[in-house]
């Protein structure tokens, strides 16, 4: 048996590698995606006031600080048994949707989208936002910058800072919004909705109009029939900030729906000897290895899984696009027939972008957000709390136990990307199976299609581990598994 190692970060010792084990006849025996984790979170959290975690955990990760801020704040609310005023919930929801829109924008235009806008065979140096601008026009770059700036301004108004918000505290918010700021946010929200329409048009014009891309999206190479997870509101519509966690099976039937505090009854973590990373799975189904299907407890937590796990979107334009998404891919616009194509995640992300922008505008217009009543001081302490939000890249769970003074004694995180460790591993394997053949040189195009398999998940190792290079360097080393001898090396950006 031969072993192929794809090392995406050869410069950064100790980070992720992809191991492909190839039989002598050229077939793929197995695949491992290995990423070491950021260490010591629990030890770091212990002894600190739980209300500090919302400000500290934003610094774990430069990618989704707002998601950590909100999940930690919600966990701290629960630790103190705090009930938030309605205006505070709206402000949190508003700022969170503004963040969500910015994050999805970045991924689509700078990371995942270029695979389609520029094409999967485009040279790596062109598969970035510069390539998108070259294809779509300079105006697209200006719009992306303006969209990000709009989101950041709203975060600054509500969260107190542009990048690392600080205003969510147990029982509510610490900063009020003025009438003038509300007027400004309404304008920004209108601009964001227009941007979401522009993004959907790009999906239409460049991706869906190209049969080659559509065939790639629906190909077996990028398809896995797993369970799907996502937060839903009382009507089972997609919600990014709050609600219950709903999981549906590969057939679309509800497997479970639970309150955040009950997550440990439903989710367990599998450990592999080769990796520090944990592989979350559904407890009641069980860990059956890296396989899909209804008997395997592996689930996805991504834009695609959130659409699958819900009964629809919470806003009108996003709902219309949701119906078009399912109609196009399953011939059933109700969304009851699951979409299992990993690459459809990019389109799902833009459907979510529309909901995030519409929600931002809707809440910006809400008269209650300029209310003075934004904080209910906690009156007691429960001593344990779980906070769950949807990070752009998957369900994010913060869990704290404290003493009677609110000092953290135990802490646990399940971050967005971690949920997807097993699906990412399977997606890489499936893509590699279709591409790695005995005697066939490993080309840049092959490397990129393997990358595409995990880039669709928008993986962030900023908190699951740390950082990967933006322009992914890849090194594929082919070993003879028996002797360890290197028989082939393919490199890019190394």
């Amino acid at each position: 048996m031969k072993s192929i190692v794809i090392d995406p970060i050869t410069r950064l010792e100790g980070h992720g590698k992809i191991h492909l084990f190839v039989n002598d006849d050229g077939s793929l025996a197995n695949c491992y995606f290995q990423v070491p984790e950021l260490r010591g979170f629990e030890m770091f959290a212990k002894g600190r006031p739980v209300e500090e975690m919302a400000r500290i955990t934003t610094r774990i990760c430069g990618v989704c600080p707002d998601a950590h801020h909100m999940a930690a704040a919600k966990a701290a609310d629960a630790v103190y048994g705090a009930q938030l005023p309605s205006a505070a919930v709206k402000l949190r929801n508003l700022v969170y949707n503004a963040f969500f829109a910015g994050d999805h924008t970045t991924h689509f235009f700078a990371l995942g989208g270029p695979d389609f806008v520029c094409g999967p065979d485009a040279p790596p140096a062109e598969r970035n936002i510069l390539g998108v601008i070259a294809k779509v026009g300079l105006d697209a770059g200006k719009k992306v910058i303006a969209q990000r700036a709009a989101g950041q301004r709203i975060i600054e108004i509500i969260g107190g800072k542009k990048v690392h918000p600080v205003t969510a505290i147990p029982g509510g918010m610490s900063k009020r919004v003025t009438k003038e700021e509300q007027a400004e946010m309404i304008k920004l929200g209108e601009q964001m909705v227009e941007f979401a329409k522009f993004s959907l048009k790009i999906v239409d014009d460049i991706v869906l109009a190209n049969k080659v891309y559509v065939d790639l999206i629906v190909s077996d190479m990028f398809t896995h029939k797993t369970y799907n997870m996502g937060l839903v509101d009382a009507n089972n519509k997609v919600n990014f900030y709050d609600g219950k966690v709903r999981v549906v099976g590969p057939d679309g039937k509800e497997h479970c729906k639970y309150e955040p505090k009950d997550y440990l009854q439903y989710v367990a973590e599998h450990v592999e000897s080769y990796s520090y990373l944990k592989y979350p799975f559904l407890k009641k189904v069980g860990w059956k290895g890296f396989v899909d299907g209804p008997d395997s407890g592996i689930y996805k937590a991504s834009p695609l899984s959130r659409l699958n796990a819900s009964d629809g979107m919470a806003t009108p334009l996003a709902q219309a696009e949701y119906e078009r998404f399912y109609e196009t891919l399953t011939k059933d616009k109700s969304g009851k027939t699951m979409v299992h194509h990993t690459l459809a995640t990019h389109w799902a992300r833009i459907v979510e972008l529309m909901q995030a922008c519409e929600t931002t505008l809707m809440l910006a217009k809400d008269p209650e957000i300029i209310s003075d009543k934004i904080h209910n001081p906690p009156q007691g302490i429960v001593g344990e709390g779980v906070g769950i939000v949807e990070a752009p890249r998957g369900t994010l769970t913060h869990h704290y136990k404290t003493d009677q003074n609110g000092i953290v004694t135990e802490a646990n995180l399940i971050v967005g990307t971690t949920n997807n460790n097993a699906p990412i591993t399977m997606s890489i394997k499936r893509a590699a199976e279709g591409l790695i053949k005995k005697g066939t040189p490993i080309t840049n195009g092959i490397l990129n299609r393997i990358e595409m398999a995990f880039r669709a998940y928008d993986p962030c190792f900023g908190c699951a581990t740390h950082s990967l290079p933006g322009e992914m360097p890849l090194e594929v080393v082919v070993h003879d598994a028996q002797t360890g001898e290197v028989t082939d090396i393919a490199q890019r950006n190394c």
Binding site: R11, L12, E13, G14, P36, E37, L38, R39, G40, F41, M43, F44, I56, R59, I60, G62, V63, D103, T106, H107, A110, L111, N128, I129, L130, I133, L138, G141, K142, I145, R148, V163, H164, D458, P459, C460, F461, G462, T465, H466, S467, L468, P469, G470, E471
Partner: protein, 163 residues
Amino acid sequence: MKPLLILCLGNEIISDDGFGPEIARRLKKELESSRCADVVFAPVAGFFLLDLLSGRRSVLIVDTIRTGKTEPGTLHSFPAGILTPSYHLTTSHQINLPTALELGRRLGYDMPNDIDIVAVEALDLETLAEALTPPVQAALPGALQAVRGWIAKHSEEEKPHED
């Protein structure tokens, strides 16, 4: 806006990633009175760099790096985009520095003429902790000297423009 910027990247709570913020902390006071140079600590990357770089003539980025080829604590100095990017200039969810610079130029931002990097070889970038490891801690004086040398050199270059 001062023409020179010392841009310290990093993260105060992830062991050796605290190198940039510590350099920023130590330089803050002495650069307050400088006519030429500002120091900024920014725990960000990618698109966020556009705003930070825009309007400056020359920028020195202070960061951590892992080449795996030198001992922890070794200082690496190089112009941006020429050699291995440093830690925060490569990220899984953002654009890298050369892309950010080119994007800025195409969009009409006033981007710096030159960007240099001084980066310390890190030992630990995985453990949540507020202290640097000993070899990286020991590299602080050398890095400060390198930063001051860079400011002196670029301040000289600045003088003809002021005349």
